[in-house]
Symmetry: D2
Subunit: 343 residues, 4 copies
């Protein structure tokens, strides 16, 4: 399959290149960049020295050269590209936020501007394969999930319809590496401001909140409101969410563990760790895997879940390739079999 | 005042030396160490080159040379030293955990061994000056608070007796730098295992839990059970707690902010930041200050608080010196006036 | 080909597993460990969850189960294992230092103990493929180079026999990530002692010095003495050497650049960057590539070279697999085609 | 004494504020900023909460409010401010590079633009107190040294006029933390590009080279050309130089050590460590001290020196305050007595 990447010089873009350039069933036809058009990608990223890919400016005509298009643009910019692709019948995997929410009003409320193409909002399939595998296979437009929602939804999916937790009690305390903020320079990501320090940000106002709530709402068949607090951690990659929920039934850890094992049986990318072995983001470094663990705090009647991913892989480009594999009818782990790198 | 430090080569010990060696009203009479007895402290810590302090083995006779004793030993070891000091009428500030809990049973339950001197448990004054200032002034034995409890208690103290939050709903998600684990080598603190990675640990089982609950219980005049999850962050110093509590009354952020400003009016070491300015551990780097902020998440009816400290200063040795200043009738910020270092 | 790994739980050992478990022509028959025998490797390294490899204690009988043996032990321990393997006709790639030096006296002088098997010292082929490819193909025992020597030798090899630099003037200032010190805990690698700090160590006394000198001696056909200063850098992986040499002839940068391009033409793992583009260790992260650049400082008449590698890959386990590929008659980049990961 | 700070929101500016706000003989009269004029400094740097300093735009009229002016501007911008100050008879300590070089031609060659006030070049006293103490005391304009030159000159000063080393052989391999690049955002200092990686930069072309050569020329009474290679290290503060020089006489380490001890006898800020104890930048963290050590590599006939400082303190603002103390006739360590912070 021929693929194109719009926005190849951002961190999710180059991560796509890193994965797809070694994917046995994908051929990268073009890579676009506004700022670096005309230059070799390997000039921008010297670690790719030897890879012959010239950056080009985006134009709709490019789409004829690919069967599937990956869009790795900041939110608000995907609309017109999706329009072009839909017109030409090219399947799209959008790594941005524009087609994740079902509701244009919710989009406007959290993103602060009107949605450019509300008519397609409900056509975008939410691309979390472990939950939506079947729908993704037939999709024309896959809305690749946000990184934070991926950690949360994989952690809570096995509880859907089980009636075990009170959905109104869910609190998500999340921690992200700095690469999640992208390659655009800012004081927030300036080395000397970030190093050796941790901070909370977007408290009670982060844009991934409605995305999490929308999908949890489907799990629990109810309107769900969560508290979601992201933090910026002095590390490049990695994202870890600690999730608290009140149990609404008496259940012990072993029973819960069995539910999770059952739910993720055979899944190549979700791994429940042994009791007491808490996920460490380094376990996922460079891999498409999500590590999970849980405990029941009997003293407080709460379930505590910890999940982690590499925000650029399972949280973005790896998951996008996983979706591509589904679209293309390939084994889901094609090009994604790596296990993470330690140390 | 002459002071002695038992356990001067651990990280809290050397931090005590760093502060006390420049304290205008303290003179360090002796510093002890089991492993390095007979050597200059500056051999163990070359950054102290020029400071003439020879490490000595602890013996009760040393106590005659000091008016106040700081104990910076791992938990379980303070008992006999406290006994010696009490006998000789030397005031003690214990940075360890042994005299923080009021109840010997609780100690045994969480620390896994019987308490060596249960008779003194209730004589130890819990040394959080912002709350217990008066009692500390008359204490013979000050139990210096744990680092995590300090972040939590300073964040919640202004709410005591206000009836604004439901004490049973409190969830604390805390993040610590690695120096909190001390200088003892282990795989947990091995650079290549920690760097560029975050993990949770001690989930629902950390020993600071009963300490937090005991003091919150006094605030709220009720038995309080909290969920407390610490995380290990790739940074040397710094500790940040994100605290969630359900509001039991309708209250807006401005009203809460006023309560906090009022409560901490005139406090030299607690700083409420402006709305939207979230604490960053680097703000406290090397200083005895605690930075706080809060927001009300109206969507979920929860109060979210973030507080941070330098775990070795306000979380340990700085607070110990603050307690010493109170004991000695000195201005509380003597030797502690530094503002943190950025970048 | 069936392979065995002796010492699989150290950092070079687990890196071998990471590479070989995805190598299409290698099957890992056994992995040994003294400390963890009997346990799953994935218990020790949870990021390998799903990989079914049980650690076993080393015994000579294991060797019947492999065609090629990788030894990843601390120096001084390889001798007996090599003896066993030689007896059973199993090819060996030793990642340790024991068979790199040609001379037992030099070994004793720098390593401080007598060599256990001096008779084999000259049978070990120094496994730097870019220089010794032909010999490696026929070797029974490959001595995998040290990480520092790899950076130095790849940087200087193209100058061998050219008479362009004065070999007596060579100064190597090298910088290493902390994983080079292995997984054994120590104060030197304790997070809080290493983070946010750099130091020199082993100044004028590091054990890689004679290895560098021995191989440079072959390049320049003369006894060579170098100044070599390693530094410990707060990063997990990566090694960078800055090399200074006085030019003995007038030569400009373009001419030198042409020599390097010519020398490394077609080499899959050595990459000369464009003028002004200085190597960054992150470029090699997780890959088997070495990045090089050079400039001529006309003001001082010196050539300055910078080279970098991932110390655990091209500096250890990746290079070992490259040697394995040569031994096995496979394309040299089998299992090693990755390009490094950014960011 | 009343002092003013021009450029108070850069990293050297805020470091000045951090030191001077606690200096018993200095009162900060004004702090200027172009970007943040009108705001509290504590809004820009929340860790200064409680310090009441309003940023103002620079104007010559401000100068009437101070006895001594600190300029912490990017190079090329100090000229007009110095002109204003000279006119009003206000002493100036310029932390920028504009008045460090004696020769306008050299300035133009390395900084790429004509010097705005060449007539004052020779009036600026090079502010390295350990060498120029007497001249500084009478200066109207002190040119505060660059950070790299400080590490190099303190390491080599004791050898001036001793005829022990060959000045033409000096090679300086230097490593700096990221704060040296200032607070201006750029891809070079973007967290995800810097973290967990090291790189060389400005190889054979860094602007501190002529400054080093000029001052070494005075030491050795000869024109000196050095090779100087800076590197960017993933740490916030700290700078370490490793210096190589060929010995021109037979001398052993003890003799050299005696020369250094003698030279730095009584100096509060330069510390020669014990044999084998190599400087670590963390030793200087937040302090005005320089740590040194040396060895003689008898095999190669070279002297190897390692020196380190905190680039923002002894490498910039601490040294500026040291110069201020000299100008003001105060003990040189006033406000600078701190010893560095470990861990």
């Amino acid at each position: 399959m021929k693929v194109g990447i719009v926005g190849a010089t951002g961190y999710t873009g180059v991560q796509l290149v890193q994965i797809l350039s070694r994917h046995e069933n994908a051929e990268i036809s073009f890579v676009t960049s506004q700022s670096y058009a005309g230059r070799q990608l390997a000039e921008v990223y010297p670690h790719l020295a030897g890879l012959d890919l010239v950056l080009t400016e985006y134009s709709p005509a490019l789409l004829q050269r690919c069967d599937c298009l990956f869009i790795a643009l900041p939110h608000g910019l995907s609309g017109p590209v999706v329009a072009d692709a839909r017109e030409q019948g090219v399947k799209v995997i959008d790594l941005g936020a524009d087609f994740r929410l079902d509701d244009a009003g919710t989009y406007q409320q959290w993103y602060g501007s009107e949605h450019s193409h509300p008519q397609w909002l409900r056509q975008g399939v939410y691309g979390l394969p472990e939950i939506n595998r079947a729908k993704i296979g037939n999709a024309q437009l896959v809305a690749n999930p946000g990184c934070y929602p991926t950690t949360v939804l994989l952690a809570l999916a096995p509880l859907a319809d089980k009636g075990l937790v009170n959905p109104g009690s869910i609190i998500i305390d999340a921690k992200s590496g700095v690469s999640g903020a992208g390659r655009k320079v800012s004081l927030t990501t300036h080395y000397s401001e970030v190093n050796d320090s941790i901070t909370a940000y977007g408290v009670a106002s982060h844009r991934h909140t409605p995305e999490i709530e929308q999908e949890l709402g489907k799990f629990f068949n109810a309107e769900v409101k969560v508290s979601f607090t992201p933090h910026l951690v002095p590390m490049t990659r990695g994202m870890l969410s600690t999730i608290y929920a009140s149990l609404s039934k008496t259940v012990n850890e072993d029973e819960l563990r069995a539910i999770y094992q059952d739910y993720y049986q055979g899944e190549p990318f979700v791994q429940l760790l042994s009791p007491g072995q808490w996920p460490k983001t380094k376990y996922c470094y460079g891999s498409n895997r999500c590590f999970l663990n849980l405990t029941v705090d009997q003293r407080t009647g709460r379930l505590i879940l910890v999940s982690c991913i590499d925000n650029l892989v399972k949280g973005a480009s790896g998951q996008a390739v996983q979706n591509f594999n589904i679209l293309a009818g390939l084994p889901e782990d094609t090009g994604l079999a790596g296990m993470g790198m330690m140390p």
